[in-house]
Point group: C2
Chain length 725, copies 2
């Protein structure tokens, strides 16, 4: 049995051999503040600032009346934070005032709680007691039970009994019995409830509560926390709603698992399912660039690793694994938690044990069995200037999912170059629909045309029907992350069922002979059962430096591209019909140039546009895009290339390589193979050959520019005239 | 006589009592690299990287053929940098290879130079020899003579004679005699020429060259360097072209003055005209926010203190003054120069002597006598979150000036909130007109409507005529920087001579009782001789959160506002007719909210727009603006307020104060006084009273809201119901 006792947050029961209630008040083992490592000491000061402020206001436990954002709602949130941090401060500092304050708040709750029924502002089938929805009550309990655990041993028996019975047993009963509908879901809300109930069980020595939390209210194991760990993450630790919600979902998993590990070490919770919870934490971090989460699905773009959920997750995972990369993350966060895990992490960070977190190329399968698509992340280089290509081949991801099958993003030198809009929402800003999702989240942000994804006949994937979308997922055909060719291929044949469309997309980072950085290659083949219109948008960040093709511009009036499915939000800046030798466009962002180049299909038209039309309340950001439009097509191939090049340093007045180094981009097809040939201005030719044959040993050959070339497996990079050029 | 000999860059002659030529080779006093302070040691490595690279390519001194940006142009630029740094590296390291390389390049120039006539790519009346324009030849000489000075003592007599005569005497002759038209101007180009010629004179012991440099080619003192120090800067050290060009102009002044101080200390060059050169350096730094120059006039917005000119200026000024604030600037630059000044600065920085540079509120007069307007800078707070209001009441500033009389900018929390477009130019980017100023610099960036300045009848100030504009300047009426009211008032009656318009504008930072930050108050009175249309634009950065007034929006097609004087570049998003109780708009930028509020005059219309129309080559940035339009007016008053408020932290999911705390803004006039009354939602009333009477002792009174209020002097802040609210 493991027993970390330095700061035994929630290890009260865990340090004795059985689940037994304690009856003796003990003095907490306060750590002399001079011995605290800097990160932890700073965290103590953060907590003091908050709790001291709360103590100055006295105990304020109002009768619940207001919905989210209202006064009683916010006060009960402040209270759980005060209970949680107050308990921890008592543990760390030994200052009795903190213990007394936590006790006094909880005694006030002991008076209030028995008087409560459904919250008067309930808005759905799952009302809370203290809050308008049961989720908030669960979050309250998860925090309060931890703070209570830190001071419970110091209480007189009568106070302890009162708080045990009138607050925590009642709250656990409410969540696990009265709110069984939520409790027994396989859903993140149920994870919060299970965590609260289970941690209450550990603290009170109530095995029944613990069993219900772990195995579901009927203890069958069909629901409950353990089942949730099996169904809510893919085998690679990916959470189907996407990175933004993965961050949020992770919190109760990690906190409750930490409590299980300390109280019930024989359950080996962190080893379950091949270490799924630690994998999920690691995956959450991998789903970031420059500290910010990939913003796909409903995501606020300013959400980073600097968030409470990840302070917990990193500290708990580090205590389990000792992974020095997590210390690197903690250093960039500059925050931790006031538990023994946070102390261990802070000490090791101060001891210089951190190593760079290994952001790397990887494939993250989606779905409980890993069979519902994947996210492919291709990275090149290290540190802040790392390049990252993200191919989003996941399933829909439920109500917060976007209709963006086979979409992608690209990052370079610290910037998002090919972008994802994220959610249309200004969190907590009253003037913006009270901080809720905006109407434009449905009409723009979720629509296919708002993504770097193929749109057919101007309609979004699955006709914009989420229930239909949830039934289907892309299939990841291939993934490889070799040094000179990193590549992902996926396909889906269900996004446009009424047109019988199959779309297969390859995204690759290809080393091109003679260039200083890899280029992105994008090969998208689609075929339908009739003549269709195919739109392939690219949403980029930056200002246009030049276009190879002449543009018919709308200079003095600006029309709108369409009237539905997101098209009503696109201003048209101009249209063009590029030819093979001029089909490129260069923009600048963050001191680097990017040239997007494509192979013009017959009758290909290009539309340059910007988001922001039909936006009465200025809810949208205005961002540029280029759309390749192929009309009257049945079998189409969009072959495109994105080339980062050069340098612009305005401070030093230095500009180099502002023009593309590529002379041509060609696409050839041979017996179902796709061959993409990139020729640089210095004459070096590099090809990407795709057989789409997953047999790694099978040899393929094709004639390119008069040469017989040969490769094995699904895909290969071929230097057509030697590497020396 | 001062003789700093540690690294005696260009002090060769200055260390002996007379201007005498040296004939003995001496071993340089190399400093052991272990003794070099970190900043200087890093600079040595920077220089080594460049010069070693050049040495690896050998001596390449091509016959001049190309214009700016072409190969021979760039190669001669690389060469002067190699001569300059190579000499310094020899001084610092004692490594003979550097001296030999500098000698070999200069011997190649000694062969080339006598063969040269006018540059074949000359484009104007001032052709160079090595470069297409004489300015570049002067810059070449300023650098080369310094590098030569570092190695000259090591040369055999024959080599020295050859280089003296065939390179430096010829170059000095070319600049000061053959190019007399440039040399005798009162202009920055002449400063470069004077510096090159004068420093050559010091090195060769040629008093005639020194005299010509200091006193002009006829040695009368009517032109030349000393006269330039009197005419090119205002008494406050402001350079009339603006901060961007001030930075550039400063370089030859500081470098040559440093040489004068070391060779001719009795001239007391740094004490001349009340220390004008050191004042100019300090002023250059004061003309920044967050390290970036205020971008008014033709300015590239990405130009910061991190530039070669300021590395020189800061090191030279620090050696003169020992001002610890300059060490703070050097620390943020992370760069210095390889002279004894740079070494002293680096040592003192390493010794911890730096103190924060005192960015402060100040008034900088414009014009040689200080009588041609001014820049008023009002700052509040310290460090990165400092607030700064810049009122641009300067003269036109010659060909790079913009028609922006009485315009302003506002910075807060590290961001430019009320913005100046700067120049329309992408420096050195070939695809953008070869990197030159773009057509849109004339058609948009210079026009009045592109600024936060009053436009009358849709025409720019002075009808867009620079020669006319150069004849007139605003008059600064008042400036005060008290704690609770910082204020600037200026007037101009010459910007619209054909309409007889006088414009008087007051910009202030006013402490409002009950608010956590000052607000900006803007009072602009204008009167013409007939009925006119007045447009007052505000160019802001951020996304609209709400407008108090309903807007008639252009949702599905976007018209252009006008057809000339910049109006052709404005897309119209909507129009509105606000009333007194709803005339406000709130936007967000950088986690802070900003509410712009104004007093609607009769028939006031508001236009919401964005730059970017009629821009065929995507040369413009697309930035929002709001325009107050008053038609059929003769005497008009625009009274506006900008209120920073609240906080948005997306990472912490925290939003506070997203709505304005102000209930009303009113404007009253009494006997020529302007009274602006701000009332907060909590009922506190604060007034700004303007008498426009510059007698500081004179008392004024007015009735406001039934109360008699009384103040003395030009302007006053008055708390109408006590500070306690
Ligand atoms: Zn999306
Ligand atoms: Zn300007």
């Amino acid at each position: 049995m493991i027993c970390r006792a330095l700061i035994a947050s929630l290890a009260l029961a865990g340090c004795s051999p059985a689940l037994a209630d304690h009856d003796v008040a003990t003095s907490p083992p306060a750590v002399p503040s001079a011995d605290l490592p800097p990160l932890f000491a700073a965290e103590v000061e953060h907590a003091r600032a908050f709790v001291d402020g709360m103590m100055a206001q006295g105990v304020v436990v109002p009768v619940p009346t207001d919905p989210g954002g209202g006064y009683t709602h916010e006060q009960h949130k402040r209270n759980y934070k005060a209970i949680y941090l107050g308990g921890q401060l008592y543990r760390v500092t030994g200052e009795q005032a903190y213990a007394d304050y936590v006790r006094d708040i909880l005694l006030a709750y002991a008076k209030l709680y028995p008087t409560l029924g459904d919250h008067p502002a309930k808005a759905n089938q799952n009302p809370g007691r203290l809050f308008w929805q049961v989720l908030n009550d669960a979050v309250w309990l998860v925090h309060a039970v931890q703070g209570y655990g830190d001071i419970r041993d110091t209480l007189r028996g009568a106070d302890r009994q009162l708080i045990d019975d009138q607050v925590f047993r009642r709250a656990a009963q409410f969540l696990s019995v009265d709110s069984r509908a939520t409790f027994d879901r396989i859903h993140n809300h149920a994870t919060w409830a299970a965590a609260g109930v289970g941690m209450t069980g550990y603290l009170l020595g109530d095995e029944d509560l613990v069993e219900r939390a772990l195995m579901g209210s009927d203890k069958s194991g069909k629901t409950g926390f353990l089942r949730q760990t099996e169904l809510l993450f893919s085998p690679d630790g990916y959470y189907t709603e996407g990175p933004y919600y993965q961050r949020y979902a992770l919190m109760p998993f990690m906190v409750f698992a930490d409590a299980i590990a300390k109280n019930d070490p024989k359950r080996r919770i962190f080893q379950r399912r091949d270490g799924i919870l630690l994998k999920a934490l690691n995956t959450t971090i991998q789903l970031t660039y420059g500290g910010y989460f990939f913003p796909f699905n409903d995501a606020l773009r300013d959400k980073s690793l600097n968030t409470d959920e990840l302070y917990h997750g990193v500290a708990i995972a580090y205590a389990e694994t000792g992974d020095p990369g997590l210390l690197d993350i903690a250093r960039s966060q500059g925050r931790t938690i006031l538990t023994d895990d946070g102390l261990k992490l802070s000490r090791d960070l101060a001891a210089g044990k951190a190593k760079p977190f290994p952001f790397r190329s990887l494939l993250l399968s989606d779905g409980p069995e890993g069979g519902q698509g994947a996210v492919a992340i291709l990275r090149h280089g290290q540190g802040a200037s790392q390049m990252a290509l993200v191919a989003k081949n996941t399933s829909q991801g439920m109500g917060h999912g976007h209709f963006d099958k086979l979409s992608w993003q690209f990052y370079d030198k610290g910037h998002e170059i090919v972008s994802d809009y994220g959610a249309a929402r200004f969190l907590n800003i009253v003037a913006k629909e009270g901080g809720r999702y905006l109407p434009e989240n449905e009409s723009w942000a979720k629509q296919t045309v708002a993504h770097n994804a193929l749109v057919i006949n101007g309609e979004s994937h699955f006709g914009g029907d989420q229930k239909l979308a949830d039934l289907h997922a892309p299939q990841q055909l291939y993934f490889d992350a070799s040094a000179d060719l990193q590549i992902s291929t996926a396909t889906i044949d269900s996004a446009y069922p009424e047109h019988g469309v199959t779309m297969t997309r390859t995204l690759a980072l290809l080393d091109v002979a003679g260039l200083d950085a890899p280029v992105v290659i994008d090969v998208l083949n689609a075929s339908g059962d009739s003549s269709l219109t195919y739109d392939l948008p690219l949403h980029y960040s930056g200002q246009i430096m030049e276009t190879g093709f002449p543009i018919s511009r709308y200079l003095t009036e600006r029309p709108v591209l369409g009237d539905a499915n997101g098209y009503q939000h696109i201003w048209v800046d101009g249209t063009a019909t590029p030819t093979a030798d001029n089909a490129f466009m260069t923009w600048i962002l963050g001191g680097r140039f990017y040239t997007y180049r494509f192979v013009p299909q017959n009758d290909l038209k290009v539309i340059l546009g910007e988001s922001g039309a039909n936006d009465p309340n200025f809810n949208l950001r205005r961002e540029p895009m280029i759309i390749q439009r192929k009309t009257d097509g049945r079998d189409v191939s969009f072959v495109s290339l994105l080339e980062p090049h050069g340098l612009y340093d305005g401070a030093a007045e230095q500009t180099v390589g502002s023009r593309s180094q590529i002379a041509s981009l060609r696409h050839e097809t041979h017996d179902g193979y796709d061959i993409v040939i990139v020729e640089t201005k210095s004459g070096a030719k590099t090809a990407l050959a795709l057989s789409y044959d997953s047999d790694p040993a099978k040899t393929h050959n094709a004639k390119i520019d008069g040469h017989d070339v040969r490769w094995t497996g699904f895909a290969a990079r071929i230097a057509l005239n030697g590497e020396s050029n």
